[in-house]
Amino acid sequence: MKPLIISVRAKQRIALNRATVSFLRSVDATKSINIGYSNGTGQQLAAGTILYTLGVVNTLDYIRVVTTTLTTLQGTGTFNVSISTLPNSSQANQSISYNIDGTTGIIDFTYNSAPITDDVLVETDNRTNYVFSSADFLNSITDPDGDTISEVAIFVDVTGIQFDGSPYILGTWIALSDLDQGKLVYIPLDQDAEYQHNAQYKARDINGNESLE
């Protein structure tokens, strides 16, 4: 008899790079990221393939990871996924796992909270310029993560507000270090009756997260 030889080759598994994505807590958001791979052997990844799902879409704590385009995983490359989630207000960092062709991939979720602002009230006398300091704002801003507050911006009515000697442009971000150099000044109207100037503001932390309300 002749031998029947069955040759079993060591087929390479696809390797999936670990990915990271960041979200703001309490904010319903969708982000698109590219995930790297290697050792692809021509697997087809159809658009709309759900790689991971948790909870009911648009409800608290749900996560959904879906491919966005048809991709042939050949050799080395990337594929794109859309990640949607609504983290709760105290969501801790976490990792999720998904599977492609028997290989487990991991996506690390990191969370940050936006600064929380409160009303800022300052006082001056008529015909007396008011020079803002960072303390004027910092006394009314907290950050749940303890992140440093780096900037503020003013909106709605910026009449009479000057930055570094020129009229302040609505919505321009101002570094807190500039506030402490006395660059932000309010010049009151030249009138005798008392009045209130009302504007609104936002704060931003060093991670670039803006206050939400």
């Binding site: 009303d119 300052v122 003013i154 005798d192 009302n198």
Partner: protein
């Protein structure tokens, strides 16, 4: 977004029903006082006594609108000195209305709103008092009174 509120207070030097003395020799030109007039409606009287031989001009403003201007009042023998001063400072020439030393001149305007307005009072007395002329100026601001 949260509010950024800038409260601008109406800073005053004193409230109506009071006055102040003023000596032209140490005059700031003009000396400016801010007087709180209360919420009352009525005539506001400003008494000005010039105890010197230097002319004095008093101007009153509310919200940057002039409510009275006395012009220069006092010893008109100082007209040439006042002309020199105005000429040297590129101010327009003004005639002194004669008023004997010690006369009380009363100026008035009608405050017709209930808001607590502030009277801005400017006092112009650029000339020095000559020799033995006594004291300075006495200025008193009455509160609004509808029954005058």
């Amino acid at each position: 977004m949260k509010e950024l509120i800038i409260n601008v207070k109406a800073k005053t030097d004193f409230s109506c029903g009071a006055g102040f003395d003023y000596v032209s020799d140490d005059a700031i030109y003009p000396l400016t006082k801010y007087i709180e007039l209360s919420n009352a409606v009525g005539y506001v009287l400003v008494d000005v006594i010039n105890n010197t031989n230097a002319p004095l001009k008093v101007k009153g403003y509310i919200e940057n609108s002039i409510v009275f201007d006395s012009g220069y009042v006092g010893d008109d023998n100082r007209q040439l000195a006042l002309d020199d001063f105005n000429t040297n400072n590129n101010y327009p020439l003004e005639t002194i209305t004669y008023s004997p030393v010690g006369t009380t001149n009363i100026y008035s305007f009608y405050k017709n709103v209930t808001a607590n307005q502030v009277l801005k009072l400017e006092c112009y007395a650029p000339l020095s008092v000559i020799e033995d002329s006594p004291n300075g100026f006495e200025i008193f601001i009455h509160c609004p009174d509808p029954n005058i």
